[in-house]
């Protein structure tokens, strides 16, 4: 029987996340100690070998990302992406509230690997209480000497979803409009204030202490081979247990819903599940016997993304849901590039038209063309991913659209 496997959240609610001493009692800061005894190259190799891939959505190998950072510039930055803007996602908040010290330790480990003592945490604007807690946790860790020379500053977002995109996040820290930069150059080479910068997600950083303490091979042996480790998931929607879980990455989506989640609320039938946040694909019931790891999700045309799992029961109206999602993206587009600035708006218009019974087959045709161009030609991941809910529901739930046409 499928069960949770807690690594990051093993001591949840048993230790005070603000206290470095509490954390040390359960084995904390051993990973950093070990990291600092290694030379930076070997440390990066070790992280690469563990197979740890980014938990923020793109799934890039963390050690590999660090290895692109050039050695010579003196000023470099370690930035933690705690923007957590995907609706339905709150796993980074949980990780901070339960185990903040692991995040700080992970950032310091990265700092040693790339040769930086400058850390920033960019926190979602809706989490002021977590910012307070993090500041205390940093203060406590600094006082205890656990972080050594490594400094961490907390910055707050102002509610823009796009500021979770790493280069928009960097622009925002610099005090500019939250607009993504074109890449290359990637942040690893030219990031914060045009200096080499590693941007990783909260969960990615929080894995590092455990990798260093228990060894890369241990981590590589957990869960799915190509995306090892555990993943913290947050369940929302029509589900009996709308809460968070930490599972190994080869855990089946079916078990997330029916074992840990306790099944669809009220014993209703499942209509669809959206994994990875608002930009995720809608997965039909016939596809839920899939492990949640990055590659397995990609194979069914979905994405693990942030690890949000949004469950919809049989009574849900797909077209209405997509209409709401289209509104979300129209609101969150930064407005920089043509396909997304104009495209998200037209998507919303067409969805509204279909949803209110005024749509025609021509509108569906236009939606498909628009989706294709947005995916292929938008500047950043927002515009590229915004049409995915539309295309995935047109693929699996076309009849819901057709029945609403004029």
């Amino acid at each position: 029987m499928a069960q949770e496997y807690r690594v990051l959240l093993e001591h949840a609610d048993k230790i005070n996340p603000e206290s470095a001493a509490d954390y040390v009692k359960v084995g904390g800061y051993k990973g950093l100690e070990k990291a600092r005894s290694m030379n930076p190259k070997d440390l990066t190799e070790e992280v690469k070998k563990s197979g740890l891939r980014g938990r923020g959505g793109a799934g890039f190998n963390a050690g590999m990302k660090w290895s692109f950072v050039p050695q010579y510039p003196e000023t470099k930055y370690v930035v933690c992406n705690f923007d957590e803007g995907e609706p339905g996602t709150y796993k980074d908040r949980i990780i901070c509230q339960k185990n903040a010290q692991a995040l700080l330790e992970g950032m310091a480990i990265c700092g040693h690997a790339i040769g930086s003592n400058n850390g920033y945490i960019y926190c979602r604007g809706e989490y002021p209480f977590v910012v307070e807690m993090l500041k205390k946790a940093i203060g406590n860790a600094k006082e205890s000497g656990a972080l050594g020379e490594f400094n961490i500053e907390v910055r707050m977002g102002a509610g823009a979803y796009v500021c979770g995109e790493e280069t928009a996040l960097i622009e925002s820290i610099e005090g500019h409009r939250g607009e993504p930069r074109f890449k290359p150059p990637f942040p690893g080479v030219e990031g914060l204030w045009r200096m080499p910068t590693v941007v990783n997600n909260v969960e990615t950083f929080a894995c590092l202490p455990y990798i260093l303490t228990n060894g890369a091979d241990w981590f590589a042996g957990i869960g799915a081979k190509s995306y090892p480790g555990t993943k913290v998931l947050t369940l929302t929607g029509d589900i009996e247990n709308p809460t968070y879980f930490e599972v190994p990455t080869d855990y089946l989506l079916r078990d997330v819903i029916y074992e840990l989640g306790g099944g669809v609320k009220g014993g209703k039938k499942l209509k669809a599940v959206q994994v990875g946040g608002t930009s995720g694909a809608f997965i039909p019931p016939q596809n839920i016997d899939t492990p949640i790891d990055f590659d397995s999700m990609s194979a069914i045309g979905a994405a693990l993304g942030s690890g949000a799992v949004f469950v919809m029961d049989e009574s849900r109206d797909i077209v209405d849901t997509i209409n709401r999602i289209a509104k979300f993206f129209e609101h969150e587009s930064c407005g920089q590039c043509t396909p997304c600035r104009e495209g998200t708006h037209r998507c919303k218009e067409i969805m509204e038209k279909i949803n209110t019974g005024r749509g025609t087959l021509k509108d569906i045709e236009n939606l498909k063309v628009l989706a294709r161009v947005m995916q292929k030609a938008s500047l950043c991941g927002l515009g590229q991913a915004a049409p995915i809910p539309i295309t995935s529901t047109l693929e699996h739930f076309e009849y819901e659209y057709l029945r609403k046409l004029m």
Binding site: E330, G335, T344, H345, V373, K376, A377, L379
Partner: protein, 354 residues
């Protein structure tokens, strides 16, 4: 170090760091652009210049993507053409399409690219934004219902002029160009240089002074040097029926080496005096308290006679020369030479010192 790549079946070599846009153009491909401007920082945002690298999932914006060794590029693949058409249609959907009365008619990127890709109308429904800015300034018409949001004006204002009068306001579909607090140019740091007009690829920013006097694309262009100051900017007179009807920029460094098209408010907008009936066309000599027209010979003789008279009576130091920043360096040199060598005084000064 050079890298090799194939563009539309043609193999070419370019130096490392070359952007695909330049590589494609070198290979003879005509790449449409809106936001790209060789004199400004890159934006990579209009997505008109997309091309297809073989084997890549997405298209790339050629203006911001460095060429890589071994790349195989198609600049007019079906996906590329579809993307460009949709980008154009998305622009048209909210565009105040009034080419017949537009100052930019005939020299407009949107018009040209729609022609090239056969985009007569947009498949998407939509209305114009009503972003026309009723701005009382006498020089610049700001019709953002024709804006394609390329941000070239913003970058030109910051990077060429340094005024930072305008920027993007609001987000997403509501993003538009504005001064701080969405006010009028007069209340912003704007110096009315018109560099924003110069770089605008469409008819969103145009000259109020030249409006209605002839579409720039149809006017005869005569290159000349601005006479307002000694900088010597090249400007492009727009001539119609032997009359000056406007000034535009020639941005070619070979023809406009001093300013590469950039001008100031005087050069760009201060030319309408040329045809003024109040303009002096001959020297005037004052007799009995009244001015009367005279020939240049008569006027110069009179001046020489008076100068010599004063010099004889009071000595050369009783005379001084006050010269102007509106003449060239060479002319200023001659002026002081006249003063020192012919008249014999060191009393030479210049308006730029005031």
């Amino acid at each position: 170090m050079d890298i090799k790549l194939t563009i539309n079946g043609k193999e070419i070599e370019v130096p490392q760091g070359t952007m695909l846009l330049d590589a494609c153009r070198k290979a003879g491909a005509d790449i449409p652009t809106f936001c790209y401007d060789p004199d400004l920082k890159l934006a990579g945002s209009c997505r008109m210049c997309v091309v297809q690298p073989q084997g890549w999932r997405n298209l790339v914006a050629s203006c911001v993507t460095p060429a890589q060794n071994g790349m195989v590029i198609d600049t007019e693949s079906p996906d590329v053409v579809e993307a460009r058409k949709v980008v154009l249609e998305l622009m048209l959907t909210r565009h105040k399409l009034t080419c017949h009365t537009c100052e930019k008619d005939g020299d407009c990127n949107l018009q040209d690219y729609c022609y090239r890709y056969g985009v007569t109308e947009s498949r998407f429904e939509g209305k114009i934004h009503n972003l026309f800015k009723d701005d009382s300034n006498p020089f610049i018409e700001r019709d953002y219902d024709k804006c394609v949001m390329c941000t070239r004006c913003v970058r030109a204002c910051e990077e060429i002029t340094g005024a930072r009068a305008i920027n993007v306001m609001d987000r997403g579909y509501h993003a538009h160009i504005a001064t701080a607090f969405d006010g009028e140019l007069e209340d912003s740091p704007c110096v009315f240089c018109g560099q924003c007009i110069m770089v605008c690829p469409v008819g969103a920013l145009t000259s109020k002074i030249a409006a209605g006097k002839g579409k720039p694309a149809q006017n005869e262009k005569v290159l000349t040097t601005c006479t307002y100051c000694g900088t010597g900017c090249t400007l492009e007179l727009n001539v119609k029926n032997d009359e000056i009807v406007g000034v535009t920029s020639n941005r070619d460094a070979e023809w406009s080496p001093v300013n590469k098209g950039a001008l100031c408010v005087k050069g760009r907008f201060g030319w309408d005096f040329v045809n003024s009936p109040e303009r002096l066309t001959t020297p005037l000599i004052k007799e009995n308290g009244e001015f009367r027209p005279a020939s240049w010979d008569e006027a110069l003789d009179l001046a020489a006679e008076k100068i010599n008279g004063i010099k004889e009576k009071y000595g050369p130091d009783s005379l001084s020369m006050f010269s102007s920043a509106r003449v060239t360096n060479e002319e200023n040199y001659l002026a002081q030479k006249l003063m020192r060598a012919a008249i014999g005084s060191n009393n030479v000064d210049h308006c730029a010192r005031l």
